[in-house]
């Protein structure tokens, strides 16, 4: 995820302090991986340097000064361009699991067993995500669904490969 673009996008609704930005980020996107303060301030310094944000005000307090950041016109354009640009789809052509299956067949090990073990591991994770969905809000449900659909795709590949093991073994052995 591009943290810079995400923080810029959050600033579009109005100026915020670094702390507010972190809180907004964590609330929307940081369920599993909240942002460190250091990441916020280093990102804001970079955005400042590039003219994508500006300091809108400084509050003096007992602690360090609190800067309030505002997005610039160049920043708004940058967010718009980022949103309009499609993400590069992951090609999924480098599969460790495929490598393991081939190696198992090449070395005379039980490839079906390997696939069964992997299915159990996938389902374990899917159960956890399903439980989180049951208890979570809509954002949780959408995030978990994204993961669940990908894991399901893995499992469909796994079932297809399990059904083709004899054929694959023959190809590899020839």
């Amino acid at each position: 995820m591009s943290i810079g673009h995400t923080l810029l996008g959050l600033l579009e609704s109005g100026p915020r302090h670094g702390y507010d930005l972190k809180r907004a980020f964590d609330e929307h996107f940081g369920h599993d991986r909240p942002l460190h303060y250091g990441q916020v301030y280093s990102t804001m310094s970079r955005l400042l340097k590039n003219g994508l944000v500006e300091v809108d005000g400084v509050e003096a307090g007992a602690g360090p000064e609190r800067k309030r950041y505002a997005i610039t016109d160049a920043g708004v354009t940058d967010v718009a361009q980022w949103l309009a640009r499609p993400e590069k789809p992951e090609p999924y052509l480098q599969s460790t699991l495929y490598t393991k299956v081939v190696l198992a067949l090449l070395t005379g090990r039980d490839a079906a067993e390997l696939l069964d073990t992997q299915r159990t591991e996938h389902l374990r994770l899917m159960r956890g995500l399903t439980e989180r969905k049951r208890k979570g809000d809509l954002a949780d449900q959408l995030i978990c669904d994204h993961a669940l659909f990908h894991l399901e795709a893995d499992l469909r590949w796994l079932e297809l490969t399990a059904a083709r093991l004899d054929k694959l073994a023959a190809v590899i052995g020839s």
């Binding site: 299915r119 389902l123 899917m126 995500l129 669940l148």
Partner: protein, 229 residues
């Protein structure tokens, strides 16, 4: 007796249809309140296993025990009575009675168990509410959507408070959202009533609602918990 604490258990099930072996020495057990997914490719024997466990089909050899009952030793009438009183069923296509309203469909298993009409319909209405399809009460199955019909089927399966629910591809005909809702409602209700669920599915996202899975392949079962084939 069934294996320690289990509600339903099978041992050494064999079943062939002509020359085709559907089950080849299958063991299985499930505890009260447990949801077990039965996975495996098409034609692997998943549905045959479910039918044997539910006493719909008799195995050629092996035993199915439900509590203190030897299901495989019962005659047709006894097995039918057991299915009516203790088991609930949900299939891919709801298999509701088209001539009855949805309310009457849900009340049907209660009526067959001797519950008076008013009482049966009161219970049925509660289950329709729980499955979020109370609006369908007066409609016939042909007049409701696929998702609604399947929820009515789940309500019917649960209305008589079965101790085991057999679900064969219960979301197979539904879109993702409806399928998900049906699975949530089905497993929540089953857990609340401490019913066991035998869930046959080929969908991983549906299997993720289970507590554990077994895999059927070429008529043999691999219990992923025990790791035995």
């Amino acid at each position: 007796m069934t294996p320690a604490g289990s509600l339903l258990a099978a041992e050494g099930l064999h079943k062939a249809f002509g020359r085709t072996t559907a089950l080849d020495g299958v063991d299985f057990s499930i505890h009260p309140g447990e949801v077990v997914a039965v996975l495996g490719p098409s034609g692997s024997g998943k549905s045959t296993l479910l039918h044997c466990l539910a006493g719909i089909v008799l195995p050629d050899s092996g035993t199915v025990r439900y509590g203190d009952h030897d299901v495989t030793g019962m005659n047709d009438a006894q097995r039918s009575a057991l299915r009516r009183s203790d088991f609930g069923f949900v299939f891919q296509f709801g298999q509701l009675v088209p001539e009855l309203t949805c309310l009457e469909n849900v009340a049907l298993p209660l009526r067959l168990n001797g519950v008076k009409r008013k009482e049966a319909q009161r219970h049925a209405r509660e289950w329709l509410e729980r499955l979020e399809v109370e609006d369908t009460a007066g409609s016939r199955p042909g007049e409701v959507s696929g998702g609604q019909g399947q929820r009515v089927a789940v309500a019917r399966a649960l209305a008589a408070r079965p101790r085991v629910i057999f679900a064969d591809e219960p979301t197979g005909a539904l879109d993702s959202l409806n399928g998900e809702r049906v699975m949530t409602l089905l497993t929540d209700a089953a857990r609340d009533t401490n019913a066991a669920v035998v869930l046959v599915t080929h969908e991983a996202r549906v299997a993720a609602y289970s507590d554990r899975e077994i895999v059927v392949r070429d008529g043999k079962v691999k219990d992923m918990l025990a790791g035995l084939l």
